[in-house]
């Protein structure tokens, strides 16, 4: 009989366990490396802005003044481009998919206090270094000018 090919399979399906998960009581286990959504560790982030530059959809905004890192999750396409380009590896890809929502909101993350202090100290050190370099440069210029004046005065 040709038309009973599928009966065995149909009966098997009737008496076997469902192929689907009993969500939300059973949660799905994602394989390693699933691209769910982007997370940022604000203890490590240095607000360099590379992720903002590299994001193909422009979903990430880095505000250095307000010291915040923001992502518009509904614009993010989960391509993992920002994670691959992060120099401090503060960005990571969480396995859980992006939560749905009624509005296209923006998720703003503040830099942690500890990291703020670290960045402030770094900025201060950099400023001091720059000031020192500037002072050294000026001193050098002055010396050069004096030498030039002396040099110009000699032959005359």
């Amino acid at each position: 009989m040709n038309n009973v090919n599928f009966v065995g399979q149909a009966l098997k399906n009737l008496f076997s366990k469902p192929a689907t998960l009993n969500y939300p009581f059973e949660k799905r286990e994602f394989p390693e490396g699933t691209r769910g959504h982007v997370e940022n560790d604000m203890d490590v982030c240095i607000l360099c802005g590379l992720c903002q530059m590299k994001c193909p959809t422009g979903a990430i905004t880095v505000d250095k003044k307000a010291q915040t890192w923001a992502i518009r999750p509904f614009s993010c396409i989960q391509c993992r481009c920002c994670v691959d380009n992060c120099p401090k590896k503060s960005l990571s890809m969480d396995k859980m998919y992006q939560e749905p929502g009624p509005e296209k909101t923006e998720r703003v993350l503040d830099l942690s206090d500890k990291q703020k202090e670290v960045l402030a100290a770094q900025a201060k050190a950099a400023a001091e270094k720059a000031a020192a370099a500037k002072a050294a440069m000026e001193a050098k210029k002055k010396a050069e000018a004096a030498a030039a004046a002396g040099g110009a005065g000699n032959p005359s």
Binding site: N5, F30, R35, P56, Q78, C79, M93
Partner: protein
């Protein structure tokens, strides 16, 4: 002589979630003319090349279509790599072949489910999609995404697929082959299914050649043509035969797709046994200059990628000829003179991807 009436079909229709609209001119129950109209979801993806970096464009190309995502990304990367004279590593070629065949399997199994749904065999539809889930799980483990893979990049792959993971796919493929055999037997031997497929939408080999069809639709009419035989990626190292059917009807197209799934499994097995070790990415320097046309066999048929670059970050032009676009004239041809009840089957038979065609 009865009077004629016009029945609109789509763009929202239960049989396929694709935005195609057809004006079916009916004489009693018989379709005498079908006028297709598309253009409901045009997104202007091709013009984005002038605004996106040529590397960022990979993400856009991948999103032209959800089902043949890998094929589109591959076509774009291949064209740009030819322009820039980049030779990807052998491992990349093999991994791309494996992923391409996995995505072909998932597309064809999806099509079989849609076909079963179109002729009203719900149980078969659910069973094929249950099997498809295993293919999606493999793709997710390998690439990190179930449908949009984001693994391709100009110059190679963005992440390696480890050898032990590839080995772990082999038993899953055996399972899929065993389970699919039951479904394929039902598709090809069941008398109820055959009564809906045999003799529906007959196109002779001469007709499909004249209408410019491609893919399984072309091979279902007995024409032996498959762009994989051009030997891109690792296909030139892999031994496979082009599957054709001389039935020239919807049954023949089903036959070709069903056996192509089994063939994909064989190709993946071959590729896994041959995959060499090495890097998956070669460095890319500079910007592309020149033009190239790539032809490749996507699950739905032959796609053409034309890319023109002018030596800057942004490309000048990208053009995609999708397989569905080539098959629409044949669809209107088969719809003429068919029964109203066969319209869904004939439309599903070309495996339409309208969003892909409009871009």
């Amino acid at each position: 002589m009865s009077s004629r009436s016009v029945i609109p079909f789509g763009p929202q229709h239960p049989v396929l979630p694709e935005p195609i609209h057809l004006d079916l001119v009916l004489e009693d129950e018989r379709v005498v003319e079908a006028v297709p109209s598309i253009g409901f979801v045009h997104r202007g993806l091709e013009s984005l090349v002038s605004k996106k970096d040529f590397k960022e464009m990979v993400y856009v190309a991948e999103r032209i279509c959800g089902i043949c995502s890998f094929g589109h990304g591959f076509g774009y990367c291949d064209a740009v790599e030819h322009i820039m004279d980049i030779h990807v590593t052998e491992r990349t070629d093999y991994l791309r072949t494996i992923l391409f065949e996995l995505s072909r399997m998932h597309s064809h199994i999806l099509w079989m489910g849609l076909m079963a749904d179109a002729f009203g065999f719900e149980n078969l539809f659910m069973d094929t999609w249950r099997i498809r889930e295993k293919v999606l799980d493999m793709l997710e483990a390998a690439t990190g995404g179930r449908v949009i893979f984001s693994i391709l990049d100009v110059g190679g792959l963005r992440r390696d697929v480890p050898d032990d993971m590839l080995k772990s796919f082999l038993p899953v493929l055996d399972d899929i082959e065993k389970e699919l055999a039951i479904d394929i037997k039902t598709f090809l031997n069941d008398s109820a299914v055959k009564s809906r497929l045999c003799g529906v939408g007959i196109l002779t080999p001469e007709q499909v050649e004249t209408l410019g069809c491609c893919g399984p639709f072309l091979r279902g009419s007995g024409v032996k043509r498959d762009s994989r035989k051009l030997g891109y990626a690792a296909y030139d190292d892999i031994d496979f035969e082009i599957i054709t059917s001389n039935d020239c009807d919807t049954y023949g197209r089903t036959f070709v797709r069903a056996y192509e799934i089994l063939q994909s499994i064989k190709i993946i097995r071959q590729a896994i046994s041959k995959v060499p070790s090495g890097e998956v990415m070669v460095p890319v320097k500079g910007f592309p200059q020149g033009e190239h046309m790539t032809r490749l066999e996507q699950p739905r048929g032959e796609a053409c990628y034309y890319v023109k670059a002018n030596g800057t970050r942004f490309l000048e032009r990208m053009r995609v000829r999708t397989p569905t676009f080539a098959n629409i004239p044949a669809l209107t041809e088969t719809l003429q003179g068919c029964d109203m009840a066969d319209v869904p089957i004939l439309i599903v038979a070309i495996d339409p991807c309208i969003s892909c065609t409009e871009r």
